[in-house]
Amino acid sequence: MMKQVFRIAIKDFQVQLKSILSYLVIGFVMIIVFSLINLMQKQMVYALVAFSILYGFVNKALYEDERNNTLRLLAAMPAKRDVIVYARYLSTGVFMFALCLTMMLITGFTDLIVLSTVEPTLVIIIASIFMVFMILLSVYLPLAFKLGYIKAAGINRFVLLGMFALVGGVTAVFAALKNKESDIPQKLRALDATFTSMNPAILFIILTLCVMIAYLGSMRISIKVFRKRALF
């Protein structure tokens, strides 16, 4: 079974080899340009580049199967449908990890060239950005397995907008509460204090674990919905 998972996961890279190269070139150029001219905050640049490359990869992989109707062919192979889901999560995860590492290396080098030093917090910032994307993909992939790429991509736009609105809203509420110190509920204040006092490394590990659990949970949901999906 693992052989089949790897075979299909590798296929996700093979069918869009040309696109991956162009994503990487565009990303590389964007990072270099923004880092050198220092127009935006670095975090924003990384988020922008990573977001476009990662979504490009996932969408292209989904699109290739949708356009060619190859999910039907894969379903006719002597492999369980679960294998197709595992493979997609594996290829996305591997690509995300490779992209994260590449960005860390590139930013490290540009920092060394421009500032003659490397900011260690940057590693955590880039990793955090990828964790946010992992959560977004955890919502997107089950949609794609249930509804197919075209419908899922349409719905996902609204999901993304909703998530940005939610994050923005929560941030605004917290900012407003901070101004009225006495109005902050006791439990929220305790939570804030716990996070503030926590070792950043431990906090990072906890967050990573939470994101991994969300990703694996999303995979379980995808398997369930894909088993029931009428492909034919």
Binding site: K11, Q14, V15, N68, A76, A79
Partner: protein, 324 residues
């Protein structure tokens, strides 16, 4: 294109059939020889349903699955391949239940669907390696031979291939793991006569040389008539006829009668009756009964009895079901 030598399995199948019927024996003896067995298969959609579909193929033979578009051929095949679920009934392939042993069955079956789906931007060679990797018994040499025979360029992108060439690629993939049963859904539809003929010849070779059975659906009855040993006709989700091709063509006859020799008894005995200005025609598998009845009703009347083609049989049967 008739097959020169026929395996002895067909006689064994007939023998068992007779025994089962005459002595009331259970079907174990018979089933051992059956590579595919569908029993009382039911599958309902909003506007269409398969109703108690039943058929079986002895090992080493070709069964043609005939029916007009939308009769239920592809739905039956998808149920066989466990690509869609079914409501009730059972499907046994190699004696294994299709739902519980889906992966094992797929490993031993070569399947070609009604449409050919590949990664269009990838090469023929890549497709062979990718899809072949799913089958433990994948034989690259066999594939290379078939590619050569089909004049398929391995370096060519799949998207550049014509419909006929894609069908050949699909067949190469289906045959690459030396399947024991080939299940083909409309393999010759939309292809030109030359390619169709080439494929039909290949099917005959496979059955004779490779110890493989073939189940193939088509609405092109001439293809089925050319190569099939057994024929199953499906219409509106129901199996109308399922038997040996020769027995079907032997038993069903076309009768042409003058209009002056028409009465309800005569008409009742015919299926798919067509009425014209001077006479009417219809088919029946009880020709002796018809001749007797006709002789009694119209001692001086004339009729013409003709052999029937599969095409004519299908058309008449469909006409009859529409009338009902």
């Amino acid at each position: 294109m008739a097959r020169s030598s026929r395996p002895s399995g067909i006689y064994w199948a007939r023998f068992c059939k007779v025994l089962n019927g005459v002595m009331g024996m259970n079907e174990i003896m018979f089933r051992d020889e059956m590579i595919l067995k569908v029993n009382a298969l039911n599958k309902s959609y909003d506007k269409f349903a398969l109703k108690d579909v039943g058929l079986q193929i002895p090992k080493g033979y070709i069964m043609g699955f005939v029916g007009r578009n939308g009769a239920g051929k592809s739905t039956t095949i998808k149920c066989m391949m466990d690509l869609i679920s079914f409501d009730s009934g059972s499907i046994e392939i190699f004696g294994l239940d299709s739902r519980g042993h889906s992966d094992e069955i797929k490993r031993r079956v070569g399947y070609v669907g009604e449409e050919q789906y590949f990664y269009e931007n990838m090469s023929v060679n890549w497709s062979m390696n990718f899809f072949g990797g799913f089958f433990p018994g994948w034989d690259r040499k066999t594939c290379d031979k078939l590619l050569k025979r089909f004049e398929l360029d391995p370096s060519k992108k799949v998207g550049e291939l014509s419909k006929g060439m894609k069908m050949k690629l699909a067949l190469t993939l289906a045959l690459g793991h030396r399947p024991e049963l080939l299940i083909l859904d409309e393999p010759t539809s939309g292809l030109d006569p030359v390619i169709r003929n080439e494929l039909l010849e290949l099917f005959l070779e496979i059955v004779q040389d490779e110890n493989c059975s073939i189940f193939f659906s088509s609405h092109i009855t001439s293809d089925i008539e050319k190569i099939a040993d057994f024929v199953t006709i499906i219409d509106n989700g129901k199996i109308v006829i399922s038997d040996e091709k020769d027995a079907i063509l032997e038993s069903w006859k076309l009768f042409k009668v003058e209009n002056s020799c028409q009465n309800q008894e005569i008409l009742k005995m015919l299926v798919g009756v067509k009425k014209g200005e001077f006479g009417f025609s219809g088919i029946t598998d009880r020709s002796d009964g018809f001749i007797n009845e006709f002789g009694k009703s119209f001692p001086k009347g004339n009729y013409k009895m003709e052999k029937i083609t599969l095409d004519e049989l299908l058309v008449r049967i469909v006409k009859e079901s529409e009338a009902i």
